[in-house]
Symmetry: C2
Subunit: 409 residues, 2 copies
């Protein structure tokens, strides 16, 4: 009988040391994040994509490529198989005929963080974790708090005071122990690190546990399946911690190893904000790691990450796929968010809007070529960001007539 | 070749007059809403559920049972096939072993209103509509504004000042002409009615155009398909305008006519708020229509509808299925919203929480029997409601240690 998961072991991408998946691990002894390996040779023989096609439309359809070994440990709210939405009018506007949005707003908790939380929490449950802690820019903390509640796991979350306010509600209603910090996610991270030691909790910080990335990976698996296993030319990803980009790259490599996709890898693009662009700086300087970006700020709060633990993996994916890194300004982000709503009817988050700005710029520069198939990741629903839309609405009294039509041109 | 849609005509459920589906219609001459009829006899011969199983996971998988005749007119953001989530821990808490949530928060715009908007706007586009107007309690206006933007249709929206604030952002960013009214949706409706006349717009008010209900209907189709065409025993629905309940009932009748489902209809339950319960009052008094409910108010703003145009259709569905109507209090709603998050990890809207309260009450009374399979409609994501969660979060400084663990019991 086929195993539910073809997970094999954990390995360190830096020093190559390996670890088992049946006990709790965080970072490698050498300080690097750990990655999950699968028995792809066996899976290549056992599984065909046609079998996947008949499964439920959520990310657990790829369970052989996920680390949870016993289906009873799955903690799911139905996440995954988000829409891949054609964007013909916006595409015409930016001269990219085949423009698609992978809409990660259409998922429990309203952001792609649900994927990491679903798989991360499920594996934590399988490993017997009872208490975990993490710093967050808001959305990951919200997602982990809610999935942990479903699993009966206690969560401690520390987030910057400037994180989207609604994510506080999500953590609080889920029963998480929540703190704000007068600072950035790096400051939250330092507080969590101390608490982990003091209280002996599982550390669910980005890439300090190896399974979140496996959840994020499913974005890449879904994009491939939704294009009938023919890969697009370019994938643009708003990059803070960069786990999604690392995950998509890992997914595509695994699909290549399985023989489910052929040909050239999509060129991966890391999109950052002008005032928080450590990956872009490193890429411009052809470096393998990034430096801490001081005094970072951006309206796209989810990508306000001054130094990512997985920076070297992000940069590696960019170099290996002939991708690039690009920074965009906040005012362009706000303008593009409006554009996407007016032309395509999607109220996206500023991080997603940043990636659309990047697509526009890269087409202008000719880096994206005429006729190429381009996928932009919208990482969350616009509902989470109440302050990115300026509105002034007339108030009428019962019985009033409408005033003359206002001009919105 | 099979037609894309098996739509036949419009008919009046009151006076039985019929109309065509190739020209614009609003209400029947007699003042009743119009319903859509299909060639079910032909469809019964032409289509089997197994064919549907292989289609994309969105509501257009049921296109034969939808009114859009040319697929080019479809305006879609990938809506539908929302998760049917088992709720084992909450179910245990309320002694309903087989409790499920149909989670309509996992859909573009974050509420079930996306279904009505997708199908309503698609059909409006097919009929050549260029401008439409509607009153709204927020979420429908947001959904119609966004889908209309995608279709290139102009929208005018009037909503109460107390409607969820984020829905203003959605309308505004989509480019809708937006007004607030110091009153209720009934006051907004009166203003829109005058504007419709003055400006010759298409009236997209609830049930004043016949196609929104067809979109809502797909909730019923999906529930049936997700249970492998075996219907549950009870479906609870938070009821304002009641279109979703009417739609679910219509869907199940159509599935019966197709022979895709057998046996007894689920008992349909209309859930209202204690301070806005016109349907409940009518049902208690065994009446066929409801009366205007004065001075209505509830935290579940989406069901603050003092008089629904389709009340007679809602009541008919309750009587025909041996269902019932029940009102719940605001404090119970807020408490249940928290319960659902803590036990199941879902941050639902207060309207959905109202329906869970109703399930609990009906089980206590024995109306829901031991072992019955129960589906609660959560009509939207909790993110839209920032004020239903009380939070007070400690603020730390960079470098701080966490204080002692707070007690959340």
């Amino acid at each position: 009988m086929m195993p539910f998961s073809y997970v094999s072991h954990l390995y360190c991408p830096k020093c190559k040391k390996t670890y088992g998946t049946n006990e709790k691990h965080q970072l490698c002894e050498c300080g690097s994040p750990l990655l999950v390996a699968y028995n792809l040779d066996a899976l290549r023989k056992d599984l065909k994509p046609e079998i996947i096609a008949n499964r439920e439309p959520n990310l657990w359809r790829y369970h052989e490529l996920l680390p949870v070994e016993n289906p009873e440990h799955i903690v799911s709210l139905g996440e995954g198989m988000t829409p891949l939405v054609p964007m013909p009018r916006l595409g015409k506007d930016m001269d990219i005929e085949q423009l698609y949005m992978k809409d990660e707003g259409i998922i429990p908790t309203g952001t792609f963080k649900a994927r990491g939380a679903a798989v991360g929490i499920s594996k934590a449950k399988e490993l017997g974790v009872k208490k975990l802690a993490m710093p967050t820019n808001g959305n990951a903390g919200a997602a982990w708090s809610l999935y942990a509640a479903r699993a009966g796991i206690q969560v401690t979350v520390v987030m910057p005071v400037d994180a989207p306010a609604i994510t506080r509600n999500e953590c609080a209603i889920a029963g998480a122990e929540l703190y704000l910090v007068n600072g950035l996610i790096s400051d939250a991270g330092a507080i969590v690190s101390k608490a982990i030691q003091e209280r002996n909790m599982y550390d669910a910080s980005t890439l300090k546990e190896p399974y979140r990335i496996e959840g994020k990976k499913t974005m890449g698996l879904e994009i491939a399946e939704q294009f009938s296993w023919e890969l697009p030319d370019v994938i643009l990803y708003p990059t803070g911690g960069g786990v999604g980009l690392i995950g998509i790259y890992k997914a595509l490599k695994e699909l290549q190893a399985l023989g489910w996709v052929q040909g050239k890898m999509p060129r991966l693009v890391a999109v950052q904000a002008q005032n928080c662009a450590p990956i872009v700086k490193a890429w411009n300087e052809k470096k393998q790691v990034s430096e801490f970006w001081p005094n970072s700020s951006t309206v796209a709060f989810g990508i306000n990450v001054p130094k990512a633990l997985g920076d070297f993996l992000v940069l590696d994916a960019l170099y290996k796929t002939d991708g690039c890194a690009i920074a965009v300004e906040d005012d362009a982000i706000i303008h593009e968010q409006r554009n996407v709503a007016r032309l395509e009817g999607a109220f996206i988050c500023p991080e997603g809007a940043a990636a659309f700005v990047a697509a526009r710029r890269l087409r202008e520069r000719g880096w994206i070529r005429k006729g190429e198939r381009v996928v932009v990741l919208n990482t969350g629903i616009g509902l989470k960001y109440t302050h990115t839309v300026d509105i002034e609405v007339p108030i009428l009294q019962p019985g009033d007539h409408l005033p003359e039509r206002r001009d919105y041109s």
